[in-house]
C-alpha cells in the first residue's frame, strides 16, 4: 500500500483546479457576451442539482458519458485514441433497435438483455474495424475512427429513412426519419419515478468490472503494458497487435452499449436529425472528456461523468433563463479538455521527482530482492 502524501493529493485535485480555471475563462466569455457569469453559473447549478428531478436528469445524462468513458479508459490505457464513440454509439443503437423491432411481442426479460448484447456487439464491430486497421495496416486510429463516425451517421440516416422507417411515417408526406416505437415491455425499468433508468445502475456496476478487468486480469495487464511500452511488451511475449484490436473493440463495445441504452432507457425509438449529435448529444466526445477528468480510471470516471452530466443538464436551464445557447457548454467542455491535459505536466513532473527520490533511497539501502526478481 502506497503511503498517502500531499503530492499525491495534489495530483488528484489537479483536474479540479484545471476545471475551475476553464470555468473562469468561461466566465470571461459570458461577460463578453453580455451575460452575468455569477447568475449564469448559478442558473447552471440550479438546473443541474436544484430538485430531485433535475438530479435524476443529471444522472440520466451521465449514463452515456460514463459508458463511453469506460471504453475510453480501456483504449487510452493501451495508448489507442478512440475518437469514434459517436459512430460506435450509433451502430450499437441500430443493432439493439433492430432486435427490439424484430422481436416485437416477445417478453421484455428476453428482449432487453439480447438488445443490450446486440448493442455491445455493434459497438464492438465498429471499434474492431479501426483497431484492425491500426494493428495490421498502420492506419492512425484517430483518423479512421473519425471516418467511421461519418459512415455510421449515413448508415443511420439511410436506415431510418428507408428500411427501418416507422410504417406510420412511411405513408405520410412529412416522413419523419424514425423507427417505430419499441414495445412498452422493452423499456428499461425506472429506478425512481423520474427519467432515471436501470441503465444508470448497470453503468456503475460496469465501472467496477472495468476496474477489475484493467487491474486484476491478464488482459488488463496486457492492455496497460502495451500502452506503456509496446516494444517491451512484444519482447515480453504479449501479442501487441491483437491487444490493440481488443482494446479498441472493447472501447467501441461500451460506446455501443451507451447507444442502445439511450434507445431503451430514454427515447424508446431511434430518430435522426441527420447529424450524429442529434442522436448522441455528443456523448461520444464528452465521454472522452469525462474519462480524462477521471484520470482514465473507471471509478474516477463515475463522478466525472456526473459532473459533466450536470453541465449538460444545467446548460438547458442556462439557455432558458439567460438566453445563453447550450453551445456555450460545448465550448466550455473543449476548454476543460485543454486545461486538464495541459495541466497534466505538473503531475508528470512531480511523478518524476518522486521516482528520482525513490531511486536515491533505493541506492542508499541496496537490497538483493530487486535483482533476484528479474
Amino acid at each position: 500500500m502506497k503511503r498517502f502524501n500531499v503530492s499525491q493529493l495534489m495530483d488528484a485535485l489537479l483536474p479540479v483546479f484545471a476545471t475551475l480555471a476553464a470555468l473562469a475563462v468561461g466566465a470571461v466569455m459570458l461577460l463578453l457576451l453580455g451575460a452575468n457569469p455569477i447568475t449564469a453559473y448559478a442558473a447552471l447549478i440550479e438546473g443541474a442539482f436544484g430538485s430531485g428531478n433535475s438530479l435524476a436528469e443529471t444522472a440520466a445524462k451521465a449514463v452515456p458519458l460514463l459508458l463511453v468513458g469506460l471504453g475510453i479508459c480501456i483504449s487510452f490505457r493501451a495508448n489507442v485514441i478512440n475518437i469514434g464513440g459517436e459512430g460506435q454509439m450509433i451502430i450499437g443503437a441500430i443493432f439493439g433497435t433492430v432486435i427490439g423491432l424484430a422481436m416485437s411481442g416477445a417478453p421484455g426479460w428476453l428482449v432487453i438483455p439480447l438488445a443490450l448484447l446486440a448493442g455491445f456487439a455493434g459497438g464492438a464491430l465498429w471499434g474492431a474495424i479501426p483497431g484492425a486497421l491500426k494493428a495490421y495496416f498502420n492506419v492512425n486510429e484517430i483518423l479512421s475512427t473519425v471516418m467511421m463516425n461519418a459512415i455510421a451517421v449515413q448508415i443511420m440516416n439511410y436506415l431510418l429513412r428507408g428500411p427501418l422507417i416507422d410504417p406510420a411515417q412511411a405513408d405520410l408526406a412529412s416522413k419523419i426519419p424514425q423507427t417505430a416505437a419499441l414495445d412498452a415491455a422493452f423499456r428499461l425499468p425506472r429506478l425512481v419515478p423520474t427519467r432515471l433508468h436501470l441503465g444508470a445502475l448497470l453503468a456503475v456496476i460496469l465501472a467496477f468490472l472495468v476496474y477489475i478487468l484493467l487491474w486484476r486480469t491478464t488482459l488488463g495487464y496486457r492492455i496497460r503494458a502495451v500502452g506503456q511500452n509496446p516494444d517491451a511488451s512484444r519482447y515480453g511475449g504479449i501479442r501487441v497487435r491483437r491487444t490493440i484490436v481488443i482494446a479498441l473493440l472493447l472501447s467501441g463495445a461500451f460506446a455501443g452499449l451507451a447507444g442502445v441504452i439511450q434507445v431503451y432507457g430514454l427515447n424508446y425509438r431511434m430518430i435522426t436529425d441527420g447529424s450524429a449529435t442529434g442522436f448522441t448529444g455528443s456523448a461520444g466526445f464528452n465521454g472522452i472528456v469525462a474519462a480524462l477528468f477521471g484520470q482514465l480510471h473507471p471509478i474516477g470516471t463515475i463522478p466525472a461523468s456526473f459532473f459533466f452530466g450536470a453541465l449538460l443538464v444545467g446548460a438547458n436551464k442556462l439557455q432558458r433563463v439567460m438566453q445563453v445557447p447550450s453551445s456555450f457548454i460545448t465550448a466550455l467542455n473543449g476548454l476543460v479538455v485543454v486545461f486538464v491535459v495541459g495541466s497534466d505536466i505538473w503531475r508528470r513532473r512531480r511523478q518524476r521527482r518522486r521516482q528520482i527520490q525513490a531511486t536515491q533511497t533505493a541506492l542508499d539501502e541496496p537490497t538483493l530482492t530487486a535483482e533476484s526478481e528479474v
Binding site: 485514441i81 492512425n140 473519425v146 459512415i151 453551445s327 456555450f328 467542455n333 491535459v341
Partner: protein, 310 residues
C-alpha cells in the same frame, strides 16, 4: 442515367472537384508543416469553424472580403498559438488537446453565430475570376480557370510549401525538428521556435480554409458547417506521405469523389440512396489510408514533445 455520359456532366464534376479541394488544401498544407516539425494539430476543424465564422461575420458587417480574410487568419493564428503553447510548452497529449480545441471551436463558433447573427443570412463572397485567354479554352478553361481567387491561391500554395519545406533553411529546420529534435537542438536549431512557427502558421491556414467555405464557395455560415472536413484534412496529410504534392493528390482524390457523388445524386432515378452516396468519400479515405500507410513513414518525432536536456 444517360446523363453521366455527357461532357457537361464531367466538366461539372471536375470544376466543382477543384473548388471543393480548396479548404482541404489550405488546412492540410498547414497541417503538413506542423506535422513535419513534430506536432499533430487535431484542432484543425475547430480552427476552420472559427475562421469560417469570423470571415462570414466581418463580410456581413463590412462587405470587405480582404478584411474578412484577415480576421479569419487572425483567429486561426490565436488558436494556433494556443495549440502550440499547450503541445510544445505544456507537452500535453496532442491527440486529446486537439479534440479540446475542436470542441471549443465547434461550440464557440455556434455560440457566436447564435448570439451575434441568429438567423441564416447569405453574404456575397469572392466572385469567380475568369482568367483572360485561359478561361476561354474549351473544357479546361471551364474546369480550372473560372474559379474564385481563394481557389487559385490554394493551388499556388502547394509548390510554395513544397519549396519551403525541401529547399530552404527553414524547411530543413522544420524537418529536423520533426525527425530528430535532439540532433537539431545540438546544432543550434530552436526546436521550440520552429514548432511555434509551424503550428501557428497551420492555425492561420486553417482559419483561411474555413473562410474559403463561408465567403468563397458556400457564402453562408451554419452550425458545424465543416462537418468533419478538418479531420479529413488531417487524414490527407498522412495519405500524402507528409509531402505537399502528396497532399494535393489526396485532396483532389477526395474532392473529386465528393463532387461526383453530389452530381450523381442530382440525376433523376439514380438508384443509390443519397445517404449512402454521402459516405463514399469517407470510405475512399479509409481505403486510401490502408493502401498508402504501408509504404510511407511518419516523421519520427510526431506527437513527441521535446524537452531540452540541461
Amino acid at each position: 442515367m444517360g446523363d453521366i455520359l455527357t461532357v457537361a456532366f464531367w466538366i461539372g464534376v471536375l470544376a466543382s472537384g477543384i473548388r471543393l479541394a480548396t479548404p482541404y488544401l489550405y488546412a492540410a498544407i498547414g497541417e503538413t508543416l506542423g506535422q513535419r516539425s513534430g506536432v499533430l494539430n487535431l484542432g484543425v476543424e475547430g480552427q476552420m469553424l472559427m475562421g469560417a465564422f469570423m470571415a462570414f461575420y466581418v463580410t456581413l458587417h463590412t462587405g470587405n472580403l480582404w478584411l474578412a480574410m484577415l480576421a479569419a487568419a487572425a483567429i486561426g493564428a490565436v488558436m494556433g498559438l494556443a495549440m502550440a503553447y499547450v503541445s510544445i510548452d505544456l507537452q500535453a497529449e496532442q491527440g486529446i488537446s486537439g479534440i479540446g480545441f475542436y470542441l471549443f471551436g465547434l461550440g464557440m463558433s455556434t455560440l457566436l453565430f447564435q448570439m451575434l447573427v441568429g438567423t441564416v443570412e447569405t453574404v456575397s463572397g469572392f466572385p469567380p475570376i475568369h482568367i483572360p485567354v485561359l478561361s476561354d479554352i474549351p473544357v479546361v478553361g471551364e474546369i480550372f480557370f473560372q474559379q474564385n481567387i481563394l481557389v487559385y491561391i490554394a493551388f499556388a500554395l502547394v509548390p510554395i510549401a513544397q519549396f519551403i519545406l525541401m529547399k530552404t533553411t527553414l524547411g530543413l529546420k522544420i524537418r529536423a525538428a520533426g525527425e530528430n529534435p535532439a540532433a537539431a537542438d545540438s546544432l543550434g536549431v530552436s526546436v521550440r521556435a520552429v514548432r511555434y512557427i509551424t503550428v501557428t502558421l497551420g492555425g492561420i491556414l486553417s482559419g483561411v480554409a474555413g473562410a474559403s467555405m463561408s465567403i468563397g464557395t458556400l457564402n453562408v455560415f451554419q452550425q458545424n458547417m465543416t462537418s468533419g472536413l478538418g479531420f479529413i484534412a488531417v487524414a490527407l496529410v498522412y495519405f500524402g506521405g507528409w509531402r505537399p504534392v502528396g497532399v494535393l493528390l489526396g485532396a483532389l482524390l477526395f474532392s473529386m469523389v465528393s463532387a461526383l457523388q453530389l452530381r450523381l445524386q442530382l440525376i433523376p432515378d439514380w438508384p443509390i440512396p443519397s445517404d449512402l452516396m454521402v459516405m463514399t468519400p469517407y470510405i475512399v479515405t479509409i481505403v486510401a489510408l490502408v493502401l498508402t500507410m504501408q509504404r510511407v513513414r511518419s516523421p519520427s518525432a510526431l506527437t513527441k514533445p521535446f524537452e531540452r536536456r540541461a
